[in-house]
């Protein structure tokens, strides 16, 4: 055991027992961040803030929520919204944060793609991030069902049904997930457990992993410059702060992030208090009704692009049914971005505007995903500018896959041959 002497204060007392000074250095004051980053690098801290908000409001909501199909709707819309003091505030913060967190996740993800932060030493940051995306999707989906609104019910019905597409055991899997032949009370209670217990535990663990994967390769920067963090850190510690290319996580990085969080929260609470329904489907204010199908069933906005890929294939190809092709495409779309470090054959780490072909590819991907998102909400039987929506869905689905699986490997291989840029 270490030699324990009489402490000079609380910090010292703790330091002798837990090395808090060392820990603070490693995690905060000597955790180095490049200096040349812009506000897009604040998205991680904003996501953390939103996650904490979700966690806290989730606990408060859980005090009054009843996971029972006969009570769930009223426990949310009556008890929490009308009887509990500020219940509406917790509920709206929870609901709006659940939606906004996806907006920020997408910005965060596309930032990583734009600056090439997924490759050359940072692959694990990317993979753990994509894992978080999948987990957040599961968390969002299981939570969406809990208020037992009309769209929650039917979304759960449709999504759980998808597992029926698994060969041979499909029907059994659907039944196993639902705990019943149809979406019912047993489905609600297990989704409740998943949403408030199992998934948050896993999420917190993977968030910790995501942070940890950052510790050694460090975050990327605006120019993709390869910084020798040891040399730059030494400069900083010697007092040459102006010339060092790095800043400590605290106070340098967080000082900026606090400002961003402050301004972001103005926007966030504007949504919560004045425009909460931007994220809530009005149909969800009708209680779930197994006997009445809503005219259009669609998921929340952040799943729309995947949903459009699911229904993008509406005709059979070479004897494969449209349903199965769509299902495979959907399953693949869910994990497609995981493999970015594999599709991208080039070693160049630089912002997209310094990589010509990649720059065009990046914006095509963004536009394609926005189109998928918008058409994911529109009724498939409609016509837009003289083209049927089904065909637009089909072409943008195909475009998504070609961009990722064909175009990206080709342009990055060419880039490599040219020797970068």
């Amino acid at each position: 055991m270490a030699q324990i002497r009489k402490s000079t204060g609380i910090i010292d007392w703790l330091d002798q027992r837990m090395a808090v000074n060392k820990m603070m250095k490693v995690l905060v004051s000597e955790y180095w961040i490049p200096k040349n980053i812009n506000f897009l690098w604040a998205m991680g801290v904003i996501l953390t803030t939103l996650f904490v908000l979700l966690l806290i409001t989730g606990f408060l909501l859980m005090m009054y929520y009843k996971p029972d199909i006969n009570l769930a709707f009223d426990s949310v819309n009556y008890t929490i919204m009308k009887e509990v003091e500020y219940g509406w505030l917790w509920r709206h913060i929870h609901a709006v944060a659940a939606s906004v967190i996806f907006l920020i996740i997408y910005i965060h993800t596309f930032t990583a793609i734009y600056y090439g932060s997924y490759k050359k030493g940072r692959e694990l940051i990317w993979v753990s991030g994509m894992l978080l995306f999948i987990l957040f999707s599961a968390e969002a989906f299981s939570g969406y069902m809990l208020p037992w609104g009309q769209m929650s019910y039917w979304a759960a019905m449709v999504i759980t049904n998808l597992f029926g597409g698994i060969p041979v055991i499909g029907d059994a899997v659907v039944e196993w997930i639902r705990g019943d032949y149809a979406v019912s009370d047993s489905t609600l209670t297990r989704f409740f457990m998943l949403h408030v217990c199992l998934l948050p535990l896993v999420l917190i663990a993977v968030i910790a992993l995501h942070f940890y994967t950052l510790r050694i390769p460090h975050v990327n920067n605006e120019t993709g410059e390869e910084i020798d963090f040891d040399i730059e850190a030494e400069k900083y510690l010697k007092g040459d702060k102006a010339n060092a290319k790095v800043i400590p996580f605290w106070p340098g990085f967080l000082a900026k992030d606090f400002m961003y969080i402050g301004f972001f929260m103005i926007f966030f609470f504007y949504l919560v208090c004045f425009h909460f329904n931007f994220a809530m489907d009005p149909i969800n204010f009708e209680p779930g009704n197994p006997l009445k199908t809503p005219p259009h069933i669609y998921p929340e906005w952040y799943f729309l692009w995947q949903y459009e890929i699911l229904r993008g294939f509406f005709f059979d190809i070479f004897g494969f049914s449209a349903y199965n092709i769509g299902l495979i495409a959907f399953a693949f779309a869910g994990i497609a971005l995981f493999f970015m470090p594999i599709y991208d054959r080039s070693d160049v780490v630089a912002p997209a505007h310094e990589r010509k072909g990649f720059f065009v590819w990046f914006w095509l991907l963004v536009i394609d995903m926005i189109i998928l998102t918008i058409f994911g909400k529109l009724p498939a039987d409609g016509v837009t500018m003289g083209i049927s929506n089904s065909w637009i869905g089909f072409y943008s689905t195909i475009t998504f896959f070609i961009l990722l699986l064909v175009v990206l490997p080709i342009i990055t291989t060419l880039e490599k041959k040219r020797g970068g840029k």
Binding site: N38, L40, Y78, K82, K241, G262, F285, L378, G382
Partner: protein, 342 residues
Amino acid sequence: MRELKILIVVVVLSLITYWGIEPYAHSIMHPKVDPVNYNFAEGDVKQAEVVVSKREADLESAKKLGESAKIKNAEKDLQEAKDSLEEYKTFWAEIGAIDFKKGNAQKGAEVFMNAGCAGCHGLEVAGMPAPMDNASASEAYKVVPPDLSTAGYLYDDAFLAAVIKNPNIALKLKHKFNDENPYPMPAFFGAGGEDINQELADMVAYLKSVAPKEVSDEKVFADSCQRCHDMKYEKQYVFTNRVNLAEYMGSNPPDLSMMIRSKGADYLHKFINDTQKMLPGTAMPRVGLNKKAEEQVVAYMQKAGDEKKAERESLGIYIMIYFLIFGIFGWLWKRKVWSELH
């Protein structure tokens, strides 16, 4: 400046996505309809014309397909729509011919008795309670007939006269009730007087004269909606026996507690004003409230479904101011920290 450029790109892309999945998608899913029109004569004829032009379009596309069965059906539908348009035109022209200024409340009271209105309806304000309790009335008519005390407050002259003269047309329930399956309230063919229009004007004048000048939102809701709808978050429950009601309407009408959130005020105004415009074929009658009463109903629904609106909005301002100050301090701190980093 680069940061500002990036921010603009992020905001613009988010807004395009937002526009696509909210206003645009919803405008496609809920095609535009004419605005609320309290002049029912004009509104009904217009709406009937809309239906005719829709049926014409359907017939055109059926002809393009060339299937004779479909064309036949489309032709039949078009003919029905045209007949319906004619019917509305005639009906409202007849109502338009009534001179309500000549209505005499005293005579109206006599007509009211002679026409047998009190056989089914109560008129509490005039000391006439409903002839049956709610349970027996539910059995007898499948839905409890309203007490007419506030009718003069809830409806304007023309609608009152129209509903007395021919409730099935005025309430837009022709698709549901016909000669074999008549509407529980019979049409009015006169109560023995010489001029049916005069009798209608008298009855309207009578109902207007007995109606209270001010009615609470809750009472307006009770008299207009509660015979069929619950508002359980306000602890208001249907008057009619639920079994009879489900039989009468085809299914149990929904609870209205959350309707303001699931449909929104604009939809509700249009729906109350003309059910068939918003949900063709629905079993719910057109409510026909005048502007003031309709606003009261929607306000009551707002209270039930969005009670904390005022609190939400006033607190919202404070929270936003708090974070503005937080952000300014954050900015000052950042300036201090970064002054030696540059």
